[in-house]
Symmetry: C2
Subunit: 466 residues, 2 copies
């Protein structure tokens, strides 16, 4: 039969074992920290009814939604009824509206799942990618924002990020400041695009661009006076005199800073009155994580007190943070931030197959070693021993167990250390502990340690070390 295209679809990726291990390590750390903050896991379907998603992400977002063709007799109509999850916030809002009576008054959930966007693929930008979301539903208190910033800071610190900023702003402050500088409301969006380039094109460049975009010179100057690095909450307060909503928003920001002095986030918060965040559903505080030398952000979030009401008809306060798994992985790989023991061989021991007569004995031995807690691969067919040892060494498997007819008769087995070449023949009953005692320390540590992703559940593990 003819061979087919074997690459994954455009913008999608296959994750080979070493990729999965790195991803699972990060997901494990994220989940463990979120659990330590009292957040509980939630999962929602990949496919949503199309009307659940449309109208939530703005016009540009709508275009990036993957839509699923109706099936059966409707297939030829070209109509669509389902769409792939575009983020984890809109499904959460739907879930809260649907199960409000079953959920606690303050529902704190984390959700780590894939989302799909038909964006043009680019370096670090994929069409299937994971978001690590954490949201708290049910309170308008700034304790929520402070706790979310603390949780996200603890995640980044646990992963080994030391230098990061959490930029904080408030939608009402942003709108208030733009109005105060004299920029008319319809020009707010275009003005922000220019202001966002301060780092890149400098003060003069932004001034020129503001004017080109139709903003008067006095307004442009006023904007540049307030949207600048290091501006303080007090300075902004002065610029907002008389603007009640904006001042209330600014007081939220002040509270977040004050409360965060008691948490891991305190040292990382930075007030940035030009921070806008793209999504249209934000209504209050907004946050974004910046890491030195990294264009773009590792994640962001904010308060969206109106989104759940779009589903339930009743407004429910909500605030959340989303970390981008892929960006975290890219930075960690570039900077060599993964612990050495994230990667490990597929097995602790290869059980070699001597000849056809000893296969059953070898399978029995493999079962004994597994029952003792070892990860064991059985070479699937009798072959030259040298070739089997080479296979094990190539996979980084540290030990081989060799079992000939004489050894089976004597109740013994030969264990070879493929690193040192050392080889000992010992009683079957002693084989597992021989290997367990000689495994790398990191492997022993892993075997006895609580895993993070699944700190919530526990599976039996025979022979687990104390």
């Amino acid at each position: 039969m003819a061979s087919q295209q074997t690459r994954p679809a455009r913008g999608m990726r296959d994750f080979l074992p070493e990729d999965v291990r790195r991803r699972d390590y990060v997901i494990g750390v994220v989940a463990a920290v979120y659990q330590r903050y009292g957040f509980e896991p939630l999962e929602t379907p990949a496919l949503e009814n199309i009307e659940t998603l449309t109208g939530k992400y703005g016009e540009e977002g709508n275009k990036l939604i993957f839509k699923v063709l109706r099936r059966g007799e409707h297939e030829s109509s070209g109509e669509t009824d389902l769409a792939l999850r575009y983020d984890l916030t809109v499904p959460l809002a739907r879930v809260v509206a649907e199960y409000r009576g079953k959920l606690p008054r303050f529902f704190k959930r984390y959700q780590i799942q894939a989302v799909w966007r038909a964006d043009r693929p680019a370096r670090g930008r994929f069409r299937e990618f994971y978001q690590c979301d954490v949201d708290a539903i049910g309170s308008k208190s700034m304790v929520v924002e402070a706790e979310l910033c603390a949780a996200v800071s603890d995640v980044l610190l646990a992963l080994g990020f030391a230098a990061f900023d959490i930029k904080v702003n408030h939608r009402a402050v942003l709108t208030g400041l733009l109005s105060a500088t004299g920029i008319p409301l319809p020009f707010h969006g275009t003005a922000l695009v220019a202001i966002d380039k301060l780092d890149k094109i400098g003060r003069d460049g932004v001034r020129r661009e503001l004017v080109e975009r139709g903003i008067g010179e006095p307004a442009a100057d006023a904007a540049l006076d307030i949207f600048k690095d290091g501006v303080t909450i007090e300075q902004v307060r002065g610029a907002l005199t008389g603007r009640v909503e904006a001042l209330a928003g600014l007081d939220d920001v002040r509270q977040i800073f004050e409360l965060s002095q008691a948490t891991a986030a305190g040292a990382h918060l930075r007030f940035d009155p030009s921070l806008a965040r793209g999504l249209s559903y934000y209504t209050g505080a907004i946050m974004e994580i910046a890491v030195a030398d990294l264009p773009g952000s590792l994640g962001g979030g904010g308060r969206y007190d109106g989104l759940i009401g779009m589903f339930s008809g009743e407004d429910v306060p909500a605030c959340g943070f989303s970390l981008g798994l892929e960006r975290i992985l890219v930075v960690m790989a570039e900077r060599g931030m993964f612990p050495a023991d994230v990667q490990k061989p597929s097995a602790d021991v290869l059980v070699a197959l001597f000849d056809e007569q000893t296969v059953t004995g070898a399978l029995r031995l493999a079962g004994e070693l597994r029952a003792a807690g070892l990860r064991v691969e059985v070479y699937p067919e009798p072959d030259k021993l040298g070739k089997q040892m080479k296979y094990a060494a190539g996979k980084g498997i540290p030990f081989a167990a060799i079992l000939g007819g004489d050894e089976i008769a004597a109740g013994q087995v030969t264990i070879k250390n493929l690193g040192t070449g050392e080889q000992v023949t010992l009683d079957r009953a002693a084989a597992a502990s021989h290997v367990l005692e000689r495994r790398a320390p990191s492997a022993r540590l892993r075997a006895s340690g609580a895993s993070a992703r699944q700190a919530e559940s526990r599976a039996p593990s025979p022979g687990e070390e104390p």
Copy 2:
């Protein structure tokens, strides 16, 4: 704004925290056992190019594939270019064809991911469901089949299933027997549908149905003589005299039984010459798991030595097993098979908020308790203490920490056991160990135990117990 439909799409499900914990528990056990057999994790994208999937699942399967509309200017054409993963075997075949040079000679992978089928939803049948697949690539040896049956048996035993059968057959045996009974090749399919009803409608019923389906009475009688409960390999060998391929297949079956005497699968294998398995890509041994009192199966698998060649042009031997997560969960829930500690409260301690003045102190305390390894929820707004205690009790949180102004000044905190009502005021530094010592034994066990799903990775966990 008008409220919207908030239920998940037809045939899809939301997983609230208690659901996710149960699912993660099972996934954890499955992954841990597969790792103990030397299998490595693989993940593939949810979306595949449509031609990757079409032509692999038969005509009926093709109709059940969710197809994704082309985007942008092509959207209005109604054309589709992508499709949602329908199983985990075809993506594996594509991956092996694509990365053959990077993968070990014997590639052993497990993959636990969602698949999507536009089936009519029914009890226990969903349009998004998880498969737990385990496959070994690269060897024609029956050691592969034996190891797969052993791994799957160990999974079921670890989950608490005691009474299960792994039915074993071989495609060539099935074809050979049907031909030997005199049923012409074009009638093999329809004959199997009738034979499959033996348990339900009995010998006479099947005989009648075979005849109705156009099979002659002598052939029907011959079929009923061989396709019966408890038929042995030796009896079948007699019926296959002179049929070389079928006899070779039967020898594979014999070997699987012989090798499995050395493994956990031995006591569970059952030869069933009428087992057919629906998927068209199987070429050799086929297996299916039956559990007493459960219609349908918990999973199945087989050898598919031709599938990878459809992608690479070069045949690569392969064999695998797939467990259905949802069916396992249904049976475990019905039979109360989940360990008690799979479900646990969202936090160990609720930090209460006394008044506005003590919020920062409460956040600092929460940070201290978390650093000691406790899971801590902070009540997000100052409120009546009784209401806060009621909230904690309602969520099953076992302890509350209360911190008034006096206590902050004295460096103390009050810890209330919400089960016993016992309340003690102690030094801040002693608070975490006070709670850690009094947590439920199962919680302590969980905190120190290795999790299965993530036995491969390890996240830092401060204050982890020895």
